[in-house]
Subunit: 470 residues, 2 copies
């Protein structure tokens, strides 16, 4: 059956394809207040799976969840000079509460370093209270001038980690560990997105940090998207909020801190890395529905079989939906599941049933093959893992093919039309970066030739990855 | 070892005991903006377990999670007349965003019926789209004049369910099912809190509802706390937002709706129902730490044993902490775990070890008994279930002993000094209720003599439960 051309082709208009996918796959709607979004059940199901996998990694990293109020007194923000400068233009301000004008306006958290430090100052007394490792799942608000669903929204959902340590070295090692073992591991193992770990240049750092580590991914149009950052805060907030402690030698010292976050923008990244002209391709490990079992048409034996199969596959630990809505044409349902990117479809019709077979559609590789019904429960787990691995491989290959090593600002500019450029940082410098920025091309991060992360701003052999970015 | 009198005794000053427990067990701190709270890891751990158990029940009830923006255009609120009247005095209003005054102020959601209906109107086209069953986990803001940690806070965390149905009967049945199979089941099976299901009088209904079902629990001082409500909204919001659909007979009709919520106030209820003068008593099913294995003092064999035991018990599926902080006096650690209400403590010292034994402290019944180390993994699961059941029984017995059947407003007033009164609603009436309200005593709900929930406001044999309430 011919497929309806429901989506704008990616090559024709990538941003429009992206919005088409979001609308047609029922991932999200625009909210009534500009820049906000309604995350619909199919989109939220992705976020729930992400949360659960991310949360498990954060807990393994030793952090505990907590919850801080979203209302922050305005004067907190001003205590750390760079921080307020960075966030002031994006704040939402509550001036009235309970029918009265407030004595001091409160801001809705754009991030929680300030309010967290206020409490760390109370909770940390001595070196025995360190390290203090906290994470929170929350909504935050940053007023967006150019909103785009999932990627830049005025309100978004995220986790933010906040930790305090006794020494510079320990804080530094913790930020690097989160970057690697929590974020990079999650992006690659669960989202099947190959990412480039790197260091932000001083200009691109988090407001108030002494170092920002980032993970950059290439989208289907060659642009970059930052997915997860981990910051060394040094003692900046500790000094601003006087977060100090009794050291093991009887002195007093300010704590060394980290913060790190990952957000609902990962849903946008997932769409733009794996999606194709037929819609989403969801990695099996993050899919709320891994397998859909479809009855091709109304037929008692077929309906009984798809339901039985659903139970069997669920018993095998798979996340399964049975589509027995035979009053809707099979073609339309099939296109819809294709669009929604469910990794595996099992199509069962009356003739298949007679032969003890079915059609297996592997969404990720776009393959349709006949299969034996009785073998499905045994073979599907391995098939899903194969396709999960394929997505990761494809995302790495796509990025590698579109990343050019260049030698000049001009070449970098040219390369950024279709992908990324890698250029010696010593050659580009702040001046070259500024020249590129005029064309909307930015330094995404610094990396070392062997792929590792530079441990200082001026590591001599650093390479800059430059690209257009979301 | 004598225990330090860390808490105000409950009989001396119950509200102060409550705050003492919250502070000393490190459940929460007051936030910087009046009425807000910081939920600390030990408190948030309780909430996480509650979320996970509640979420599973909500999903079994067929609802899917989604997320709606927290910013609601002010004019949405005014569309449903009773709704705005109920919530206007409690709103937080954002007047500035992104450095500019907003054209229309936005309110921070006090609840989401209005914004949800705006989208339900788009998503529901025909009877085939019904029922639509949505839930969200979110923060909400209601400006509190008399805040109290967990019980009444300006910002709190909750889940709010919102559903749309084709018929009055179906909506009604769904609200009742949530009330019974999700909320009552959760309170009793997980929180071990015996609750009275009932119907709110018209005066106590949710603003905009045609019926509110409630679950009321008796706290340790005899007052009532409302834990979870389920509302029939009728067609009030559907008409205000024009949420209508094509019926199966080709006509158009407004949907029938429900909404239902449960909040972080349940943490407060848990403290006040089960706590005693030594601190919390956490029901095993909701405890983030079910068992703590304590090394009594520094001793190599003891330390090795407690760690090994920890592993063994974890392998048996238990949530276990090993307390090997032998540089802190055993007495202090022991009092602290008592305070934190961990259901089971296993204390291992050098002499115990020689005998292959330990001391088992059952926090919930306050019993200390010797036990054989080798039998623990096999016996503990049943012990925890026994103590879970005991808490539920105790909470029912306590309430029953303090609930009096009375015949007059005067007797009801008197009974409310120490507990609840049950009085025929026909005898009390709106006038009697108003007289009691002057003394801070309110009608918590209406019930039928057999314990079931009246299905109308004027069911002739309804009994009113009256009490002081949080």
């Amino acid at each position: 059956m011919a497929k309806a051309p429901v989506l704008t082709p990616r090559a024709e208009d990538f941003p429009r394809w992206y919005q088409d996918v979001i609308n047609k796959a029922e991932l999200a709607d625009n909210g009534p207040v500009r820049g906000t979004m309604v995350i619909r059940p199919y989109g939220y199901g992705l976020w729930e799976r992400m949360q659960s996998e991310m949360d498990a990694r954060i807990k393994r990293a030793g952090a505990q969840n907590a919850y801080f109020p979203m209302f922050i007194p305005q004067h907190y923000l001003t205590r750390e000079a760079e921080h307020v400068e960075g966030f002031a233009p994006e704040l939402a301000v509550v001036t009235h509460g309970g029918g009265k004008q407030l004595d001091e306006p409160v801001v809705v958290r754009p991030t929680s370093e300030t309010i967290v430090n206020e409490y760390f100052s109370k909770w940390v007394q001595s070196y025995r209270d360190l390290p203090l490792l906290i994470n929170q799942w929350a909504n935050v608000v940053r007023w967006e001038k150019r909103p785009r669903t999932f990627l830049r929204t005025t309100e978004f959902l995220w986790q933010e980690g906040h930790t305090a340590h006794a020494t510079y070295e320990e804080a530094r090692a913790y930020a690097a560990m989160i970057h690697r073992d929590v974020y990079q591991n999650f992006m690659e193992e669960i989202l099947a997105i190959s990412v480039v770990p790197g260091r932000k240049t001083p200009d691109e750092r988090f407001a108030g940090a002494i170092n920002t580590l980032t993970l950059e991914a290439m989208m289907g149009d060659g642009k970059a998207l930052q997915l997860g950052t981990s910051h060394e805060l040094g003692q900046n907030f500790a000094k601003a909020f006087d977060t100090d402690f009794l050291t093991d030698t009887g002195g007093r010292a300010h704590v060394w801190q980290t913060s790190w976050g990952s957000t609902t923008r990962m849903v946008g990244g997932l769409i733009m890395v794996h999606g194709d002209d037929n819609g989403l391709r969801i990695p099996p490990r993050v899919a709320a529905v891994q397998v859909v079992v479809l009855a091709v048409k109304e037929d008692e034996a077929v309906l009984a079989k798809v339901r039985e199969l659903g139970e069997q596959l669920r018993a095998a630990g798979l996340r399964v939906t049975v589509d027995d809505r035979v009053d809707t044409p099979f073609g339309r349902r099939s296109v819809d599941w294709e669009l929604k990117g469910v990794p595996l479809r099992i199509e069962v019709g009356p003739r298949d049933l007679e032969n003890g077979s079915c059609v297996l559609v592997r969404r990720i590789r776009g393959e349709k093959t006949p299969a034996t019904l009785s073998s499905l429960a045994a073979t599907i787990p391995a098939i899903l893992e194969e396709d999960q691995a394929l997505l990761l491989r494809q995302s790495a290959e796509f990025r590698n093919a579109r990343t050019l090593d260049v030698d000049s600002v001009e070449q970098a500019h040219e390369a950024a039309a279709t992908g990324w450029a890698r250029i010696p940082w010593a050659k580009l410098g702040a001046q070259g970066a500024a020249a590129l920025a005029e064309h909307g091309i930015t330094v995404r991060c610094l990396v070392l030739p062997d792929g590792s992360v530079p441990d200082s701003d001026d590591a001599p052999d650093s390479l800059a990855i430059v690209a257009r970015a979301y």
